[in-house]
């Protein structure tokens, strides 16, 4: 994996010192709060409900064991002993003190990490498929591209004060595990006449106006990527709305301008950029490519694995085929039954770091679904790895199942939230505590957001839950049929919302309805929904209510 060069190291340390100075100027009053805000946000520092929150980037979700151990140390030293992995491959510390933040940034810099551009109206941490470099369906590893974009976008002189935040995601595989169509720019690697390039989508986004990205270019040669990105960003920076923050994302510009006109503007700018910009430095490109070369594979034969039931269901649910038959991809669920989705304790982080070192070529990934992935594990090591995970309480075999819930921090932490998310996730997880029952229900993604900003991706959940505030009372709206993959769709609202007490039983009724109408066990919730539509689910949700009221 990519390791910081001297250039990166020098840059990050200079930024830590710069931020130290900015904090001092804020404290003396030389910077107003309004002026300080974008500076602190670009360094990942939010002001939350109870405290500051520091959001640390895990670029394209990749980290090594030393970095994971440092996150554990930071969690213990400056926070409450745990961290929260987010849907954008970041980790958040929820309880730092402002005065400690420069020290925390220093500790991150010690292991080649930072919090730069994890917030603010700039190009954010680039996200990628968590199975990159390991997946069976990959055209090419997307991480060299992601790293190139990280370098290009870091401290970009023209694009650091955009109308609004700007998110880029990339997948190297036709099966989109990076939710690219819900990003401002989505890049999907494609092959045309033997040449690898990108399909570019633009204008995707969730929030209060959810939109699926539109294809703005069907094939972009790899060499022209940055010229094209510069073109999109320049058009957006100049024409994106700045009069209303809720209409400032590029999706609104796309909506108001129309895809044809916007495409023409981008193409015109692209032609100029292509003419004027030098080529991407070949040596740098080669250096980045080399950094993502596969490890020296362990060539041991694969012994037959024991038929123990716990291991078997772990293999079924949490282990994915690797591009090498003798290896496997292991997803470690951070969704124990009744737990907080995405939280990991310092102790668990250390266990994961040890496992990566011992069995995983020293590599870890964070997925947008808030789980941790060991991308390369020799199959012979799976039983030992499973045993260690069991002992650490990390062996929940529920990946992709109803309790593998994505949830934002919600009103328990977030200043923007209008309702709690975590207790709803915990309630659903406990209602379906039996893992065998969950496996019978099959793939089902529940995604919960505690406000319309949709950090919990509810619009693309098979079952999406949106927590709102109705006259001081939490109210949860349900959407059905959302999909964040290559067949992306925004979920449809079922109708009036449910109270905090009613929401878990409502989800149970949805699941019971699905089980009663599916055509065999092979038909997933999403497939069944696409076949029968909203009506049977609406009946299940609301007719009961009327019957109760009568």
């Amino acid at each position: 994996m990519y390791r910081y060069t001297e250039f990166d190291e020098t840059f990050v340390r200079a930024r830590v010192e710069e931020f130290r100075g900015q904090v001092e100027r804020r404290l003396t009053g030389d910077l107003t709060e309004e002026e300080f805000k974008p500076l602190r946000l670009m360094n990942g520092l939010y002001l939350q409900l109870h405290a500051y929150m520091l959001r640390v980037a895990i670029p394209y979700g990749t980290l090594n064991s030393a970095q994971m151990r440092q996150l554990a140390m930071i969690a213990e030293r400056w926070d409450k002993g745990y961290g929260h992995f987010t849907t954008r491959q970041n980790i958040q510390f929820n309880w730092p003190k402002l005065k400690d933040v420069p020290e925390m940034l220093q500790a991150l810099a010690d292991v080649g990490m930072h919090a730069i551009q994890t917030s603010g109206n700039c190009i954010r941490n680039v996200t990628a498929d968590q199975f990159a470099g390991a997946a069976t369906d990959e055209i090419e590893d997307p991480r060299p591209t992601a790293e190139l974009i990280r370098q290009w976008s870091t401290d970009h002189p023209a694009f650091s004060y955009l109308p609004r935040k700007f998110k880029i995601a990339i997948t190297g595989a036709p099966n989109d595990r990076a939710v690219t169509k819900a990003h401002d720019i989505g890049l999907r690697m494609v092959r045309q006449d033997g040449e690898v390039g990108y399909e570019v989508t633009v204008g995707g986004g969730l929030g209060r106006t959810p939109m699926i990205g539109r294809v703005v270019r069907e094939f972009l040669p790899k060499a022209d990527l940055l010229a094209y990105l510069e073109a999109i960003l320049e058009v957006y920076n100049l024409a994106g709305r700045r009069d209303n923050k809720y209409k400032a994302r590029i999706k609104i510009l796309l909506h108001e301008t129309g895809i044809e006109t916007l495409r023409a503007q981008i193409e015109e700018t692209y032609a100029r950029k292509r003419r004027l910009l030098p080529e991407i430095d070949a040596a740098l490109r080669a250096e980045i490519e080399a950094a993502f070369a596969p490890p020296a594979w362990d060539e041991r034969p694969v012994p037959p694995l024991p038929a123990e039931a716990g291991l078997r269901s772990f293999l079924d649910m949490n282990v994915t085929a690797h591009k090498r038959a003798d290896h496997a991809i292991v997803t470690v669920s951070l969704k124990p039954i009744g737990g907080t989705p995405g939280d990991a304790t310092a102790e668990q982080m250390r266990v994961l770091a040890d496992l990566a070192e011992r069995y995983g070529y020293d590599e870890l990934r964070i997925s947008h679904a808030q789980n941790v992935v060991l991308p390369h594990v020799h199959r012979a090591d799976l039983p030992a790895l499973y045993a260690t995970l069991c002992a650490a309480g990390l062996a929940t075999a529920n990946v992709g199942l109803i309790s593998d819930i994505i949830a934002c921090p919600g009103l328990d932490y977030c200043a923007l939230a209008t309702a709690r998310s975590i207790p709803v996730a915990q309630g659903i997880s406990e209602a379906f505590a039996d893992l065998r029952e969950q496996a019978d229900i099959g793939p089902l993604q529940v995604k919960i957001s505690g406000c319309i900003n949709a950090c919990g991706h509810h619009h693309v959940g098979h079952i999406g839950i949106l927590g709102l505030d109705r006259a001081g009372v939490e109210n949860y709206q349900i959407t059905l049929g959302g999909d964040g993959t290559e067949t992306a769709a925004i979920g449809s609202r079922t109708g009036p919302g449910f109270s905090a007490e009613e929401i878990v039983p409502a989800v149970e009724r949805l699941v019971a309805t699905y089980l009663s109408l599916r055509v065999g066990e092979e038909e997933t919730f999403l497939e069944a929904y696409r076949r029968v539509g909203l009506e049977p689910f609406k009946t299940a949700l609301y007719d009961v209510e009327r019957a109760d009221a009568a």
Partner: protein
Amino acid sequence: MSQIVTRPGAGSESRIEAPDVLPFEAFWEGRDLPEDVPLGVLLEVDADPEDLAPWFGRLCLVVIPFAAHSDGRGFSLAQKLRDAGYKGRIRARGHLLADQFRAALRVGIDEIEIDDANASRMPAALWRALSEGGDYRSRVFAAG
């Protein structure tokens, strides 16, 4: 009153003295322009810098206003102006922070005009002290 912060090392005495700064419309609408003197223009953020191209030979100063430090249109405007081939001076005027000086210089802005109140909070030394190193974009595009 206002003050001008220039690129480190650029002596103010070597510059052509401040010309009249005319509104963009004066050029675009074909008004009579002063003859035989270099001209300045105020380029509003919603104007297209390429429209100024016919006058590049006569311009020695383009002023780009920044209504708020969070409004980054001026950075792209300056870049577009340079892309279009303008070689004269570019001045950013308005609410910019010393912390944005590096970005301003990199997109082709030469100097910043700030009012006295801002200058007292952000003296020239603070602007000049901003680290210049670590230019990722230039590095990525460094043609070998």
